[in-house]
Symmetry: C2
């Protein structure tokens, strides 16, 4: 049985760590995105997103402009707006959302179809280029938005719009006679259809999701390769002209896939749907595939920051342990997808290890994707940066050394904002009489357990503090409600105190698969420590598996869920000439830089070569080291003080 997610409306978040970003969504990002989509920002690349809908609705003259999936920007904006509305009413925001939904409805064709690219550019080409056309992907995002919107507002209009197109897709694709074979080149609609089933109860949506997942990679001839051969086939993306089925996870039936392959975002979106369907259909084989794929990612193909996708070309997984720091991809959206996949696995298994993965992705790569002003974004999240070398038209052309204002392909900014807006969904879950605390985010929750309404207040300065206070405000009447607190992998100890009621550790504490279970009694306050004593987490020097060639002889610093990085702003240039001395314990202290953060200081040595005879490029030379102090800040916060060098993995002084 899968645990339920606490609804956003039943969750409050007061965490200063998260609200620094979350308030940006409502105050900055949604406004900014709205203006971008309406082409009101001077200097930003033309979006034309709203204009495309107006033209498709016949209300304006003009031509389609933008990416084939330009509509998905509107969908992600609506989804983020819906989460914000669910959390807190906002008239102006709702007015804009309603305006956009109404426009989408007016652009919808009589048979339910809507996608401005195909309506305007290629009306006869509908569903003929599943490989590249992104129609089903875009509809998936529309469905996610509509489900969120209907839950936030209790209004059905958007849900009705997407259902009409979903019905059309149901009638078009499937294994039944008269229907077409096919599946999306970019998975996304599969997980959305599961949500639509949950929202509407209509089994056909679930079955369509299952069809799309089951048909992928089956058949004697690969669907996408055959599609390419069809007469009149358009080719939208030059980089996909030499198509490889792995790119879209279509190289094998999904149940036979053992390694994460191809485009990383596509992969994890697909795996999300696989996990959903495994649970809905009690499909053990499908669930095993999810476990195997997650295990492959987490033990062999994931950056320490929760980034995935090592290749700039095709934004894809490469091979086990190939995790280049400088020129990898590690797309913000891929880490969001990893968090979504991990969340699903967590809900199904109640295994805290999946919470660790989710937390790693959210606290590091996902947050690194956005600047502290909420107006600049990373697509690609390198773990090492020497800005001068990040040049256009080179092997590092995909790496930007500074967050960008907006993008031609604008998936990441909108994806980050919908993730921040929906953070409430990641924190708590519940099943029968157990309320799970998955992430340590100050705030409160109220859910209806079998034993009745249960309400918690969480007081913590996590991730700056290892202490979490849980006050049980209300608990069900039967007295059998239980609390399950995730014990993160980096917890040095796990100590619980009842600081009201009896002042003792509850006798019936039980630890299972990374969760501590104990009674949930109204009026009780539990003080949980993830260490021997209260304070910040202990900074840890991490090594990578020896198979990771890239990180041999290097360490990175982690503290709680946060991975740290050394930046030029604190440490000067030439970070690759620095060794950390891991024999000396690092120190940690609070600084008011970067909106306030724990900063880690470590001892180190730096190669000094003042007497290098420039302009020699290569020479015999005696190296000298000088002692230095190094400063590390959270990776998520890098690049907020101008362009500069950055390293997550730093050389270790090898006097061991």
């Amino acid at each position: 049985m899968k645990a339920h997610t606490a609804n956003i409306k039943d969750v409050t978040i007061s965490s200063r760590f998260w609200n620094k970003y979350r308030k940006l969504v409502r105050k900055e990002i949604l406004n900014y995105q709205w203006e971008v989509m309406n082409d009101q920002i001077e200097g930003a690349p033309k979006s034309h997103c709203i204009e495309n809908f107006r033209i498709a609705a016949g209300e304006k003259n003009g031509k389609f402009y933008g990416a084939v999936f330009q509509d998905s920007d509107a969908a992600k904006w609506l989804e983020a707006a819906a989460y914000c509305l669910e959390e807190q009413p906002d008239e102006e925001l709702k007015r804009r959302a309603d305006e956009l939904i109404s426009l989408i409805g007016r652009a919808q064709q009589p048979d339910g179809y809507f996608n401005t690219y195909y309506i305007l550019e290629d009306p006869l080409g509908r569903f003929t280029n599943l490989r590249e056309g992104h129609e089903l992907y875009t509809l998936g995002h529309m469905i996610e938005a509509a489900v969120a919107y209907s839950r936030a507002t209790q209004e059905q209009k958007f849900l009705e719009i997407v259902c009409r197109m979903a019905d059309l897709v149901c009638e078009t694709f499937g294994k039944e006679e008269g229907k077409r074979t096919g599946m999306p080149g970019h998975p996304e609609i599969e997980l959305a259809l599961v949500k639509l089933y949950d929202a509407t109860g209509k089994k056909r949506y679930l079955e369509l999701a299952k069809y799309f997942v089951d048909v992928r990679g089956t058949g004697e001839k690969n669907y996408f390769l055959e599609e390419m051969k069809r007469p009149g086939q358009k080719f939208l993306f030059p980089e996909l002209s030499d198509y490889c089925p792995e790119f879209a996870q279509a190289h094998l039936p999904v149940r036979e896939q053992k390694t994460a392959e191809g485009h990383a975002v596509r992969a994890v979106y697909l795996y999300c749907a696989m996990a959903d369907l495994a649970e809905k259909y009690k499909d053990r084989e499908l669930f095993n595939a999810c476990e195997t794929l997650m295990e492959n990612i987490v033990s062999k193909r994931m950056y320490v920051t929760g980034g995935i996708g090592s290749s700039g070309i095709l934004e894809r997984f490469t091979t086990d342990y190939d995790l280049p720091n400088e020129y990898g991809y590690s797309e913000s959206c891929a880490s969001i997808g990893l968090a979504l996949f991990a969340r699903r696995m967590l809900l199904i298994t109640k295994d805290g290890a999946y919470g660790d993965i989710m937390e790693r992705a959210l606290y590091n790569t996902v947050l690194a994707g956005i600047s502290q002003d909420g107006k600049h974004f990373f697509y690609v999240n390198p773990l090492s940066c020497w800005p001068e070398s990040c040049m256009e038209r080179t092997s590092k052309e995909h790496v930007k050394s500074i967050r960008q204002k907006w993008f031609g392909v604008a998936c990441c900014p909108a994806n980050i904002s919908r993730t921040l807006a929906s953070l409430g969904e990641y924190i708590y879950s519940y099943e029968k009489d157990t309320l799970y605390l998955n992430l340590f985010v100050a705030g409160s929750v109220s859910v209806m357990l079998e034993s009745g309404e249960t309400e918690l207040e969480i007081r913590t300065d996590f991730p700056w503090s290892n202490k979490v206070e849980i006050e049980v405000k209300r608990a069900g009447v039967s007295g059998c409600a239980k609390l399950a607190v995730r014990i993160p992998e980096y917890a040095e100890a796990f100590h619980v105190e009842k600081t009201s009621g009896e002042n003792d550790l509850p006798a019936d504490i039980r630890i299972e698969k990374g969760y501590a279970y104990f009674p949930c009694e109204a009026g009780t306050v539990y003080t949980v420590l993830f260490g021997k004593e209260e304070g910040s987490f202990r900074p840890r020097f991490l090594h990578a598996n020896p198979e990771v060639r890239e990180d041999a002889g290097k360490v990175c610093i982690a503290c709680g869920p946060l991975i740290y990085a050394a930046e030029e702003a604190d440490n000067g240039k030439y970070l690759s000439s620095v060794y950390v001395d891991t024999s000396k314990p690092p120190r940690i202290h609070w600084e008011d830089i970067l909106g306030g953060t724990l900063v880690i200081e470590a001892d180190g040595k730096k190669i000094v070569r003042e007497n290098w005879k420039s302009p020699e490029l290569y020479a015999e030379h005696d190296e000298k080291l000088k002692d230095i102090k190094m400063t590390f800040i959270p990776y998520a916060y890098w690049n907020n003080r101008g362009e500069g060098e950055m390293e997550v993995w730093v050389k270790e002084y090898p006097d061991f």
Copy 2:
């Protein structure tokens, strides 16, 4: 005044180091290439090169197949064949060459034009796509081949063929009224036209070369960008659709270029012509540009192996000190071009430093391009290799971890074979009464100095030995002949002994710009030592300039002109977990592996993590080091014992 090059027919080479490769050219490569061009090799990618000429000549039916510059394979084959014929007659080889030349002649159009792609595929498109069409590039290689062939055979037929097309190009392009503006997208014809001028004495060829060089990067609108806008313009290379003038060194007038930019092969071929023209026209400004560009390459943009071009995308120069070891490009052809450019600068300046550059490129990257069986080739020459990560359709798709049999774009194999076949041209040069010894290659030379016929015999086991014996077999009658011996940058000392005649250092030895000048008297034997005592060169640990982020904390080993590398075959896997202990002197000894080579052994330490808890990807862990012995072999010889890891730059144990 530029020094003259000794002709190949007047040079013999007995060096075991070089002849190991050179004999492959005649015995293996030319045969193999011939069969490839004739589509006689099963399993090799279709070439169709000869067939294209037959079809263009109207002797066969069929369609053009191959790259737009497919004809250049024939040209490079002919050029290499010509050098072999110049060195030593070979009836069968000459028969093949004549057959091919005759075929080219029959494919030539009445107006002199020949290029099978344009004749067959786009007869109206001649000279309309200079950016991508490679017609002038291909003609350049034909001219080089024809000049070499006429010198080797004293037969004019091939020269007449290329002159007819060169005349057509002269009539087509130029600044005179009625002529078209334009320049080749891929420089090459410029340097070839200078050779054609030298061979024919016809000034128009030199003037055309000068026109092409002078017009590049001038004008208010960039030629190539304008060309792209012309109606009906074809686009041959998708990667060039977003054209950037830097790619073809057309961003600035050549005299204003200060940094080496764009496609590396194009760049150095252009610089060769600039050097040639600077000398022919006594153009100081052009010469200064050559010096500046070479200085930029050598002090900021060149791998220690003499490789150039750091980006796999567009095979281009990137920025100063950006020299990634794993995913750079460092094309074999680019190093050949660098050697050609350096040779020209050496002839002009008589500055031994240019000899160092030429030698570095030839002994390292150029030789690394070819396997010891002569049948496999590298296009891309990485300085670090972890084979598993060199995957197609990734950011490292351009890097192959094993030499390839042949290539769709076959420039490198043919370029390497013409370079090996013409090695005689690199060794000696002469001017007035001075005979220059530029490279230390056992053999002999005979040239006509102003004072008369002069003949040397060079006895050396260089690069395995630091001793070079020079016997003056004949010298001019006036007694004023001089010998100039390059003193390479890595010479630890320079010691000359007359081992016949008087047993003393000649009193009038003079050292200037990297050359030692002394009398060249018949009957004298000079024994030159590039060290304090006879033996092998001392292995040197080299550091890179601190600006090279990639190589910080690393060393490489050089010995004489050779850069060494550590290979998995000798050192096992996990080369990135190894530290060299530079406080202990490395040892050198002969081994019969790899056809015989000096092998360098060094002390080192290796990170051992037997107790790493797999499948953990990241963990706190105490590192341990164990002492190891490391073995290094010449970089040029890597990858001749199967696929495996390789590192040129190895971590240095930092106990300094």
